[in-house]
């Protein structure tokens, strides 16, 4: 047997990766000394073993070939959000990244180093982004009106996902794709748990008196749905009392295509989003 429903599935997958540690919560996060080097660097056997481990433990979030998946970033970009030294990677694998979906993994050290060996074989040269971060911030809160729906460090609206640490969690490719084609990969809504079934899609409800309510689901169960419309009104609806109710796999965010957002502005905006990092990421600097 293995793993549960999508929500529980993810949780159990994490439990599985981590093994079951009864005292995990009481333990201080483990970290590797900064000077330590991977004892298996370049070792062919270790790379294969790491590939096996990656398939068992990491693909669920980081995707096939580590190109990014449902929750985790692309690990092939050559840019590391939480530090790219051997010690940084080993620590990230072992201790996870607080505030993100990356859990601690209770693996023996040799398996951690095998994973690091494997990850090193996937690296592409880092892409240089020539965007102007400051100008991107101005666009975000100004002309592009991103902050109408997205909050960053306390400023902005509540309809879309918070972006205060999005630079730590998402690759440049993912960010560009999310701006150009918001419906391509709808962000899971993890506010009230770990389910991948709740996401920032579009719900349309028609009440018995003929009102149409369109919004983003905040929560849902078999009998009810709670949603927020674009004016940030929150509705609690009994499904049985509705004339119709449906989910559409589209985002309420407009697609910022080339006509709406030119390449230069896009680069500036992405440079700003990439600068939004969790505390641990900003300390590390993010480069090997």
């Amino acid at each position: 047997m293995r793993i549960g429903v999508p929500g529980a599935r993810a949780i159990l997958a994490v439990a599985f990766v981590a093994g079951v540690s009864l005292q995990a919560a009481a333990q201080a996060p483990a970290s590797f000394p900064e000077a330590i080097k991977n004892p298996f660097a370049g070792d062919a056997k270790a790379i294969t073993a790491g590939a096996v481990l990656f398939r068992e433990d990491c693909v669920f979030c980081h995707g096939v070939g580590a190109h990014g998946g449902m929750r985790g970033p692309d690990l092939t970009t050559g840019s590391w959000n939480h530090g790219g030294s051997d010690a940084d990677l080993a620590t990230t694998i072992k201790s996870g990244v607080p505030g993100t979906a990356m859990p601690p993994n209770n693996l023996p050290d040799d398996e951690i180093w095998q994973l690091v060996s494997y990850l090193r074989t996937l690296q592409q040269p880092p892409t240089t982004v020539a965007g102007d971060r400051q100008r991107g911030e101005t666009l975000f809160f100004g002309n592009l009106r991103c902050s109408t729906c997205h909050i960053v460090n306390g400023r902005g609206g509540g309809l879309g996902p918070e972006l205060s640490t999005v630079g730590s969690a998402r690759s440049r490719t993912y960010l560009v794709d999310s701006i150009r084609r918001p419906a391509a990969q709808l962000t899971p809504n993890r506010i009230v748990g770990d389910s991948v079934s709740l996401k920032y899609d579009t719900v349309t409800a028609v009440t018995n008196d003929g009102r149409t309510i369109v919004g983003v689901p905040l929560n849902e169960d078999t009998f009810t749905v709670q949603l927020m419309d674009t004016s940030e009104h929150i509705y609690s609806l009994d499904k049985k009392s509705l004339k119709s109710f449906r989910h559409d796999d589209r985002s309420l965010m407009p697609a910022y295509d080339a006509a709406r957002l030119n390449e230069s502005d896009l680069n500036d905006l992405v440079a700003y989003l990439q600068s939004l990092r969790s505390v641990s990421a900003s300390k590390k600097g993010g480069r090997p």
């Binding site: 047997m1 793993i3 549960g4 429903v5 093994g19 294969t48 669920f60 169960d221 078999t222 009998f223």
Partner: protein
């Protein structure tokens, strides 16, 4: 009169659970004497005080908060006024059924690290005499004194460091307590054990994978049988007349990597029929030969009698994780029926011998292959139920497909006690899923009705003579359905995922229904003035 009443007024000793009481459990509807309520696996209560006409009046009687972290998957026992329940991490409690107040608490000192794939779960106890039996996460079997929770004996069944554990509820048959091992993800060789209830001495062991020189070992490439998994982690059923034990077995290992274990991999993903006195195999039926999709067949077997083609038959019914609903002759193991109850893309059908007609290109691939049902299956370990009133089988069903990945070049190493999986499966992000409670006619395999639930439901079902089927969703709704039609009659939001099935009992003449949601047990009954 319940235990507490007895003690308060007469001081008579605690009632004994005898083998006869277990065989005739259906005649004592005020109790819940074993995991499935009775040996036939039906999880049906003959109580009808709570029924279709009054279920809307159900009201909360008490809540017991265990404060043990993790959603509970346990089924309580109820014996003479006392409820016995377990929690994750091998806590056990005795609780006064009138008030919800605990009488004792057992907590096991577990090793710091354990190889448990899917959470430190425990699904319940078994009882005989004045003892309760617990299979532990560190692969021991423990007998507890039912009055005090103190240990009467404790035996190690296997080495927990090598990936063996117990998560299921044991089953008592005559003077033996029977337990099936978990650990199919850790390169174990699965088994079912029987222990003497008095002494804890092991009476027999049935390996779910044949060994050197035994028939069936040839269905494993090389020596892969030594670490081929086939655990037995869900409680089986028992037919006292046939003196036959029915128990499901789990996936072969590594679960999604097949090249190093070519062959059918007996007796993984099978229903096995054993003599409970000796542990000798009577027959087996394998649902998914050479499984590479993690489709354990550990479901609770439902034993029922029906007339098929004009002939009365003793049957065993199983909704299998592979997406097909099966009915077998439980005397011989002969295949009678296999029909899909959910979306199935891996097999065209089940042939006349009960073997799936596997479709091409449905094995896991290096880049991933979408197959339905999902790796967690069309259903999973969740308890099904059978109502002799409606003559329908009820079970939880999950509508999802998964991407299955496995790279032939990446053979997983066998490291005892460490995962032995070889790959992964995960949902297709853009696809929506939902769950359902389904009612199936075991004579035909036809779906009679379904009740759709929101995604993430993960609960078993329970039916009653009151014409009700109880279920729950992943968001915390405890739901009562009409057993004839599937119409929802009542629900209550309990605030945390429901991941087990309800049971029923009576105290002071009042029928109660209890369910765990999150880490609490909730007891419902009709108001006292009804």
């Amino acid at each position: 009169m319940g235990l507490l009443g007895v003690l308060a007024t007469v001081g008579v000793s605690f009632a004994q659970v005898t083998p006869d009481r277990l065989v005739n459990a259906a005649r004592e509807p005020d109790q819940w004497l074993m995991y499935s309520g009775s040996y036939d696996g039906s999880r049906f209560s003959p109580l009808d005080q709570i029924n279709r006409t009054n279920v809307q009046r159900l009201s909360l009687q008490w809540v017991f908060q265990t404060r043990v972290r993790g959603t509970h998957e346990t089924t309580p026992l109820v014996i003479d006024g006392v409820l016995y329940m377990t929690t994750p991490q091998n806590h056990a409690y005795a609780i006064d059924t009138r008030t919800g107040r605990p009488l004792w608490h057992y907590e096991r000192a577990l090793p710091k690290e354990m190889s448990i794939c899917c959470g430190p779960q425990n699904r319940g106890l078994a009882a005989l005499g004045d003892r309760l039996f617990l299979g532990t996460l560190d692969a021991h079997v423990v007998a507890l004194d039912a009055k005090t929770g103190r240990v009467r004996w404790d035996v190690a069944a296997a080495d927990a460091d090598k990936g063996f554990s117990f998560t299921g509820a044991p089953l008592v048959v005559k003077d033996k307590v029977i337990v099936g091992v978990a650990g199919g993800e850790y390169g174990i060789r699965g088994f079912i054990d029987a222990y003497d209830t008095q002494t804890g001495a092991r009476a027999w062991r049935f390996y779910t994978i044949p060994g050197e020189g035994e028939r069936g070992v040839e269905t494993w490439k090389g020596d892969s049988w030594k670490r081929g998994g086939a655990p037995a982690w869900v409680t089986g059923s028992y037919d006292p007349e046939l003196n036959t034990l029915y128990w499901g077995t789990g996936n072969p290992g590594p679960q999604m990597y097949g090249p190093n274990r070519l062959g059918d991999n007996l007796y993984s993903d099978s229903l096995i029929a054993l003599d409970p006195d000796t542990g000798k195999l009577k027959w087996y039926f394998q649902f998914t030969p050479h499984d590479v999709h993690d489709w354990d067949s550990t479901h609770t077997p439902i034993l029922l009698d029906e007339t098929i083609a004009g002939r009365p038959r003793k049957l065993v019914a199983v909704a299998n994780r592979n997406g097909f609903f099966y009915v077998l002759d439980r005397v011989t193991g002969a295949y009678l029926l296999g029909k899909p109850y959910t979306q199935v893309t891996w097999a065209k059908e089940i042939d006349g011998n009960g073997r799936p007609v596997v479709l091409p290109n449905t094995e896991p691939t290096a880049e991933g292959n979408r197959v339905c049902p999902s790796g967690t299956g069309g259903t999973n370990w969740h308890s099904p139920s059978y109502s002799p009133r409606t003559r329908l089988v009820y079970f939880f069903s999950y509508e999802q497909c998964d991407t299955f990945m496995s790279d032939e070049k990446l053979e997983p190493p066998h490291r005892p006690g460490r995962p032995y999986i070889g790959s992964a499966f995960f949902p297709v992000p853009e696809e929506r899923t939902h769950s359902a409670v389904r009612a199936v006619d075991p004579k035909t395999g036809t779906i009679r009705w379904e009740f759709k639930e929101f995604a993430d439901a993960w609960a078993g079902v329970f039916s009653t003579a009151g014409g009700l089927v109880f279920s729950g969703d992943g968001q915390g709704n405890f739901i009562a359905l009409d057993a004839e039609t599937g119409r929802d009659l009542w629900h209550v939001q309990l605030g945390a995922s429901i991941q087990t099935a309800a049971v029923s009992f009576s105290v002071d003449g009042r029928q109660h229904v209890v369910i765990t949601a999150g880490d609490a047990l909730f007891a419902f009954a009709l108001p006292k003035d009804q």
